[in-house]
């Protein structure tokens, strides 16, 4: 599958981020493996250590397998002061995991994120590419059940 993705990109250094983003997005476990790194480095003719360096710098990327759905909760000030609820605590309770952990059925990974730029609609969280705002305890539960249905 990675080979198919790589074919779409020119063999230039500056394609690395886009390649890593796509490579990770199409995988159920949302991570970049050692084999991926070797293959991408060879395709772009860049050192493997460089791919490792980029991978470990940006928070989007993970070098360890994660869940099918990545839940990211905003921890910055605007959401903090706009909330009557502690979104992370609710999530931890609902999923039975702590932050930076993945549920045992590999469906959900819970993470913190820096400000998502939706401060007028806080508290906010992101699941994969989708942003959910004006969160309440009920809303969170409803959103989660939607994802659970489509497992």
């Amino acid at each position: 599958m990675l080979k198919e993705i790589l074919k779409k990109y020119a063999k230039k250094d500056d394609q690395l981020l886009e390649i890593l983003l796509e490579c990770q997005a199409v995988k159920n476990d949302h991570f970049i493996s050692k084999e991926d790194i070797i293959e991408i480095a060879e395709y772009l003719s860049i050192p493997e250590s460089k791919v490792c360096s980029v991978l470990s710098f940006y928070t989007f990327f993970s070098d360890k397998p994660r869940g099918k759905h990545i839940i990211q909760v905003c921890k910055d000030i605007p959401c903090y002061v706009s909330s009557d609820i502690d979104v992370l605590k609710i999530m931890e309770k609902e999923l039975g995991i702590r932050v930076n952990e993945t549920t045992s059925n590999k469906q959900f990974t819970l993470e913190y994120t820096s400000c998502l730029g939706c401060c007028e609609a806080g508290p906010v969280m992101r699941i994969n590419d989708k942003i959910y705002s004006h969160l309440t305890a009920d809303k969170i539960k409803a959103i989660l059940s939607e994802y659970r249905v489509y497992m």
């Binding site: 230039k12 250094d13 500056d14 394609q15 690395l16 981020l17 886009e18 890593l20 983003l21 860049i46 460089k50 360096s53 980029v54 710098f57 940006y58 928070t59 989007f60 990327f61 921890k75 910055d76 000030i77 605007p78 903090y80 002061v81 706009s82 994120t113 820096s114 400000c115 998502l116 730029g117 939706c118 401060c119 007028e120 609609a121 806080g122 992101r126 590419d129 942003i131």
Partner: protein, 419 residues
């Protein structure tokens, strides 16, 4: 007071997916006008307008344009910095989601005036909607001849590519952004040389914020001198303010510079939710000062902010009521920068965790007078000795709090029993 809508005039009035609606609402009219002007004339208008960067640093846009224009390299890049990651800021998201073509139009005009050959819009990875809209708009603009080869028959060719970030606030810094586009970790570079001489792929590069580019068509429309009449002498034109926190009406408001902060909070923001009292307001974003209620008559103006040894930041106003504790907020600020620091230079890489440890001492009421001295000294060293804008602005909140909320610090030292 009312908003003054220059760059936000189309918000909610057009379908952002429709180039026809954009064109109908004065869209690409100013590009057509600019293509008939001399390139030096365009730059002169921007200079007369005294347009200053809207991303936070407030650097005069015309100087950047002149810097790029005089470079004789055949290849020159125009980059739109859409890596809006400053907590409290969401105005660029509004611009990209509600009026994407305006961003493109501004970029194309600047490229024409400076000899730019290729453009990039570097959008933070979390703004998927913006990324899609911009890509769509670029395709539409190309179909109509506003972008691409031989734009509107002018012989000027320019293309724009959208690039995604991958979760790094520091990539909003010019060189970190360039590094990121080049496929590297987002660590800044040694300066000099500066981007206008040696930038992306070693070529001359101009980087401006989304709002800065969005303002360009308005300047062409009304002329630089007219634009300069709006606002204050040091801060001309309008500014998009991202208002959030404990106000009734959160959102993006466009105001002329020179409006007092209090007016924005009460007249546009509708005042405080549940009629609570304001404890503190953070200006600009996480990199900005935290001020008390009695300072809210201060006007929004680059010069005023320089008094805080700070910049206006990107124009956020985060209102926090009396329920919130200064030190909890300061800790959140420090943790943000601790997480987002690129790690290249010592003061920023090693300093934030020490700042956090000191703040925690105040939270736990275990601090002493010596800790205030250490905190202030360390904050100043990070502020003065860091390599890039992140470290240079991250301690602003702490430094301002030491000035305006000294009593809170003293209280923590003198009353450990209250904990």
């Amino acid at each position: 007071m009312k908003e003054m809508k220059l760059v936000s005039k189309r918000f909610g009035k057009i379908n952002p997916l429709s180039i026809d609606e954009y064109v109908k609402f004065d869209g690409y009219k100013n590009l057509k006008k600019a293509l008939k002007m001399e390139k030096t004339e365009i730059i002169e208008e921007v200079q007369n307008a005294y347009l200053r960067g809207r991303g936070g640093a407030g650097f005069p846009a015309a100087i950047k344009m002149m810097g790029l224009a005089k470079e004789t390299n055949i290849e020159k890049f125009i980059i739109c910095n859409a890596d809006e990651g400053e907590p409290g800021n969401f105005k660029d998201r509004y611009l990209m989601e509600k009026d994407p073509h305006q961003v493109l139009e501004g970029m194309i005009i600047v490229a024409y005036a400076t000899g730019g050959t290729k453009g990039y819009i570097y959008v933070r990875g979390e703004y998927q909607k913006s990324i899609s809209l911009l890509k769509w708009s670029i395709d539409e603009a190309k179909k109509k001849g506003f972008l691409g080869e031989n734009i509107l028959g002018s012989k000027f060719s320019f293309d724009i590519e959208v690039r995604s970030g991958a979760g790094s606030y520091v990539c909003g810094e010019e060189f970190a952004l360039i590094e990121s586009i080049e496929g590297n970790p987002g660590r800044t570079r040694v300066k000099p040389p500066f981007p206008t001489s040696v930038g992306l792929h070693g070529k001359p590069t101009l980087i401006n914020n989304v709002e800065t580019f969005s303002t360009i068509p308005s300047i062409i429309e009304m002329g630089g001198l007219e634009f300069a009449k709006i606002g204050t002498p040091s801060s001309t034109g309008t500014k998009l303010i991202s208002l959030s926190g404990n106000v009734k009406n959160k959102g993006v408001f466009e105001i002329p510079f020179g409006v007092p902060i209090r007016d924005v909070i009460y007249k546009l923001g509708g005042g405080i939710e549940n009629d609570r009292k304001i404890k503190m307001v953070q200006l600009g974003g996480a990199c900005g000062p935290i001020i008390p209620e009695y300072m809210l008559d201060m006007v929004i103006d680059f010069e005023r902010f320089e008094e805080f040894e700070s910049k206006t930041g990107a124009g956020a106003i985060i209102v926090m009521d009396e329920r919130f504790d200064l030190f909890d907020i300061l800790l959140k600020v420090v943790r943000f920068f601790q997480h987002e620091s690129c790690g290249k230079c010592t003061p920023c890489r090693e300093g934030h965790i020490q700042l956090a440890n000191l703040i925690i001492k105040f939270i736990e009421r275990k601090a002493t007078v010596k800790d205030i001295v250490s905190l202030e000294s360390l904050a100043r060293v990070i502020h003065q000795a860091s390599l890039c804008g992140l470290g240079q602005t991250s301690p602003t909140a702490i430094i301002s709090s030491l000035r305006y909320f000294r009593d809170d610090y003293i209280d923590r030292i003198e009353h450990p029993e209250k904990g």
